[in-house]
Symmetry: C2
Subunit: 252 residues, 2 copies
DNA sequence: TTATATTTGTGTCATATTAACACAATGAAA
DNA sequence: TTTCATTGTGTTAATATGACACAAATATAA
């Protein structure tokens, strides 16, 4: 969708949207990709509407592809936000005044929107384009600890996504898509510490990770560091996918 | 909603429904509460539509209250089913012929329905009424291993709910609502074994459960059994709720 | 060339948890 | 009072965890 003329709500599932919390990892910070809305001084999660003849999960993937230019990312439904306050009522006057939405579509935008929350883990460096479209004017990463003003409940959605990610770290590995193809043990640990917001013991972390058997030693080391060169690892994709599928640390 | 005349789709979120997988535990079997649809030889999960001015989670609770007569149950969203094949196309002719839906509403029923899946844990004995309404003629428990023919993807929804429950058993206790107020350790173990579909060691199970500190010894024993009288336990509600809230067996 | 600072890789040890197993106690029925 | 099924609890070996310390590598400073 490039501009307003292309926008037509007749094929859209009324009152339903998808919103994607994109987690990136940079500079030992967990970051979220946000869009700055035109004519509203607030930011929003990348999201979209659901076509009546499109699979909902496919629409979430389409958001990432069309608005951010990302394909094949790890994307997962985590919650449906369906409370009554979810609408753009307070913003519709500005949106209409600035020609972002047409008066014909006003009812569509004023209704309560139920949104399906997805989270995705993406390699920070892969998102370069600051795509703009008919409703957003900028696309930037923001530290999860320093979020700008956001529309409706998008801050809560991010919070819930983060809680979900933390919890899932107990039963599933992460790192793929968040880290470059090859990475060191300290880098992997920094990712875990950032997501979990706590320090972990270096030696115990390494032992535990290696025991999961999802890492492959590439027999290379990261060069050009001003201290002992750390081993470069890759994920063993077969075992990694197995772990994603079956989970680990199951107690029963 | 007692009959067809009361049914009006103008206030309903089009193409959206909620469906509830009610787990019950009886005779060492995991059972699911199902509705037999009028004029279709298939069963369905108790579900409902979403009013545009109702909170989605509240609508799921309303389904349980209005259709099953249940209040204050543990009810949890687990997945949104949004693929393209989710519609009643193949059934609308029968439904119209038998006067279950009116021709005026045909478009409403033929559209693709996105449904929010909830699961609930309920005490088997508390559901007695076989409520019938304008679309269902019976309401019965079915063993999860012997499900009747079901509409659309309701079998898949049950499967996914069961998988979710199994997985969540690693981080959260269950039992409250599935068992009577007072229960014995072997009864609790039977519940776990049924949900997990595997045998557990009696001694290790007992030790682990007691270590979670969610059980209170009532200093009573189940009488009238033809062997050693087992201790009756209750859940320690404070610790139980704490465990539900914070989870347990977190590894990081 | 050598010393220093920093960071990485790995080992140890005490403690806690788990899995596998056995035996005594209880209560009804024979 | 013997038998039987079932419950409660203890033991032990193997494994995992948490808290630690030291040696190796590498750039930089001396």
């Amino acid at each position: 969708m490039r501009d307003l003329e292309d926008f037509n709500d007749t094929n859209l599932q009324p009152g339903l949207s998808v919103d994607c919390v994109l987690f990136g990892f940079d500079n030992n910070e967990l970051k979220i990709l946000l869009l700055k809305l035109k004519s509203i001084e607030k930011w929003a999660l990348p999201g979209g509407f659901v076509n009546v003849d499109k699979d909902v999960n496919a629409e979430a993937h389409a958001v990432l592809k069309n608005r951010i230019g990302l394909e094949n990312v790890f994307l997962k439904q985590f919650y449906l936000f369906g409370n009554l306050e979810r609408n753009l009522n307070t913003h519709t006057p500005e949106l209409i005044k600035n020609g972002i939405i047409s008066t014909k579509r006003i009812a569509f935008f004023k209704q309560r929107f139920i949104t399906v929350g997805y989270y995705a883990l993406v390699e920070y460096s892969k998102v370069k384009e600051t795509t703009v479209d008919f409703i957003s004017e900028a696309c930037e990463w923001h530290s999860i600890h320093n979020l700008p003003k956001m529309i409706i409940d998008h801050k809560e959605i991010i919070l819930k996504a983060h809680q979900t990610l933390k919890k899932e770290l107990n039963t599933e590995p992460i790192g793929l898509n968040l880290l470059p193809k090859q990475f060191t043990m300290p880098e992997l640990q920094a990712l875990y510490e950032t997501v979990l917001e706590k320090k972990l013991d270096r030696r115990n972390f390494s032992r535990k990770m290696l025991n999961y058997n999802i890492l492959k030693d590439t027999n290379k080391r990261r060069m050009g560091v001003k201290h002992k060169a750390p081993i470069l690892y890759e994920f063993d994709m077969e075992n990694y996918n197995q772990a994603i599928k079956n989970g680990f640390n199951s107690i029963w």
